[in-house]
């Protein structure tokens, strides 16, 4: 089985800051401004879920479906060709889990909702999205702290690149949860900026995309995920990144080819410092690093949004950089890296090129 380059042919973003396709994301990144209305408002206002879905589905499922639909619409892809799904999430539908438990705690067995129970399983977003978009090939939910979104894209790229599935929708989604926020603060992680929303990309073999006349937004030419040694939830000391090495090797690239990086920095200072060391060890000090998490907040959707942003940077040669103030820097267009590193050592690297 020969590996093929994987094209990004569609993007769907539903976040507090930006909702729309690759054009909307590009406009936002070129001129990142203040935050807009809540992500849920963006879903409802854009008619991205129908009335039945709005009534029956949880908020996080609605976010997921909305982002998936925008991505598919941009890709102009018929799910009938054989569409798979990979969704990354850190917390799943936690609001429904709370509601389910609270029903019992308030009223005993009579307070349990049979309708809510399926939502307590993290694959509820993928199940409802598969139904909504007609995806009938493999569908896998990946759970990981910090890197779930980029991991989902890497896993989906592997499936497409090896010819296992004709096309994949790869996404990430999380919603804000007050219990999580409060307890993370108690854990001393309250300084980290957390966000919410959903982002999807459509991936297909580059040649197949071109053959059907699709617009190729960018190419994933290498993707890998590994684990650096670290205690659970801990920050490690190893700086050599086998994931970056493997992703570059797959792409046939050298470290010096990487012109810029979208990293997973999010104001978790110990982890951000570790990632900076890992990137410096792998790439030297040359590439400019963007950490959108410091502006948008971290959630599983952001990992996918950064892949979409990387495709935009590869095309435009523009990179939004946060360093006290937000500004847009001109960088070398073409090849860049999306990198994610989690407490506990899970890390992901994707080499992204222009179309």
């Amino acid at each position: 089985m020969t590996r093929v380059d994987v094209a990004i042919t569609g993007l769907g973003v539903v976040t507090r800051a930006v909702t729309g396709d690759s054009a909307a994301l590009g406009a936002f990144l070129a001129s990142p401004s203040g935050l807009g209305d809540g992500a849920h408002g963006a879903v409802a206002g854009g008619n991205l879920v129908d009335a039945t879905e709005a009534r029956r589905l949880s908020r996080v499922c609605q976010l997921t479906i909305a982002a998936a639909r925008i991505a598919l619409r941009e890709a102009r892809l018929d799910p009938g060709v054989g569409l798979g799904l990979v969704v990354g999430t850190e917390f799943g539908d936690l609001a429904s889990t709370h509601a389910f438990a609270d029903g019992f705690l308030a009223r005993g067995p009579a307070g349990l909702s049979a309708l809510l129970f399926p939502n307590t399983v993290m694959n509820t977003m993928i199940a409802t999205t598969a139904i909504a978009v007609g995806a009938r090939e493999m569908a896998v939910t990946l759970n990981a702290p910090t890197v779930a979104g980029e991991l989902a894209v890497a896993r989906a790229a592997a499936a497409v690149g090896r010819g296992r599935v004709p096309a994949m929708l790869a996404g990430g989604v999380d919603e804000s949860d007050p219990v999580v926020e409060r307890e993370l603060t108690h854990l001393g992680l309250g300084t980290e900026r957390r966000g919410e929303g959903a982002t999807f990309v459509v991936l297909e073999p580059r040649e197949a995309a071109r053959a059907r006349g699709a617009t190729v937004l960018g190419t994933i030419s290498g993707a890998a995920w590994r684990a650096l040694p670290a205690r659970p939830w801990g920050v490690g000391r190893t700086r050599r990144s086998s994931a970056i090495e493997a992703a570059l090797r797959t792409a046939g690239a050298r470290p010096s080819d990487v012109g810029w990086v979208y990293a997973s920095g999010s104001r978790d200072e110990a982890r951000d410092r570790w990632e900076a060391h890992v990137l410096r060890e792998a790439l030297g000090t040359k590439p400019l690093v963007s950490s959108l998490g410091q502006m948008l907040g971290r959630d599983a959707g952001l990992g996918v949004l950064r892949v979409g942003a990387a495709a935009w940077t590869a095309r435009s040669g523009l990179l939004p950089v946060m360093n006290g103030t937000t500004r847009v820097e001109r960088v070398r267009s073409g090849r860049g890296l999306v990198h994610g590193l989690a407490r506990g050592g899970a890390h992901v690297a994707l080499v992204v090129d222009a179309a």
Binding site: A114, F117, A127, A130, V140, E183, A224
Partner: protein, 391 residues
Amino acid sequence: MKRVVITGLGAASPYGAGVVAYWKGLAAGLCAIRDLTLIETDGFRCRIGAEVVGPLAGSARRTRADRLAIGAAGEALADAGLGTRDRRAAALVVGAVGGGMLEAEAWYWQPTREVARPRTLRAVLPSAHAEAVASRFRLEGPRHTVVTACSSGAVAIAEAAELIADGVVDVAVAGGVDSITRICYMGFNALKLLDPTPCRPFDRDRRGMSIGEGAGFMVLESEARARARRARVYATLAGHGMTTDAFHVTAPDPEGDGMVRAMRAALRQGGAVPSEVQYANAHGTGTPQNDRIEARALASVFGEGGLLVSSSKSMIGHTMAAAGSLEAIATVLALEHGLVPPTANLVTPDPEVPFDCVAHAARPAPLACAISNSFGFGGQNVTLLFRRGVA
């Protein structure tokens, strides 16, 4: 594509710790479904399940599910005889659903909820098991956690097989784990899917499932790697199929279309024709709907009566994320021993199930090829196709 073989097995089951206890229980047709002790059952119609008995591996400070995973993964690694260097590069894929929910529930259930202990929160996510196992055994290859509801354990094995087949790694540890949780127990009660007596898959009078818990892990290797180090090979994972119904969040497609596509994909990838497959370890939950639709799907692929079918869930309950991997281990051991584990509690075979479901007692059968089916909420279907030894 590299061929994938199984060189290590590990289990923590309702029969206790270890693969030997697991196989002994299955081969004897012993039903391990008893009164639940881990959680409160007052006010519920069903009060039984299959809990793991005996001491657990790992520190008592870890969650129950982490300890189940560490025990089973550690046994699989030791069984495979992997050295430190092999382990370091190995992939780890874990199927999980509940994470450390059992301990988190104990906190959430408090009448006046105090600040959670950091350890409880850190361990609540399904991905915590992979972190615990990787940290304990120093696994630094690709690592990910899959959540596909009740098929999670089987999906983990399929995902690991792809990493080896694609040449990403030579060795992988994969499996599923879940402990019994209040939310799971209450949820299936709310759906009215639990039988108040031990479940009776494929019985005409079946009334639902029984919940269980456990962990099952395998070491998978490229055939070339296993040969080079002269490893013992239990079986070849010749093929797998993963599909989605895209039909309903909890109910399977009534025609079993997704199940059929998963089984056919596994056959296609494994280069097998239906007549080669002699045994199916069924998903076989014991719910009227699942068993009827699975039987229909099996008949569609293999023909009526075309193979022996049994359900391990009749003995160890539905172990959720562990079900797919524990049942894959049962399938591998059935090939290894030439013995089909039975379907316990099967008194009156359902006329809508046109298969010999191996009632009560295990049956000797020289097996060369078998499948293990796993299906989950959301229509998440997986079939694993095994061949005895090195195919």
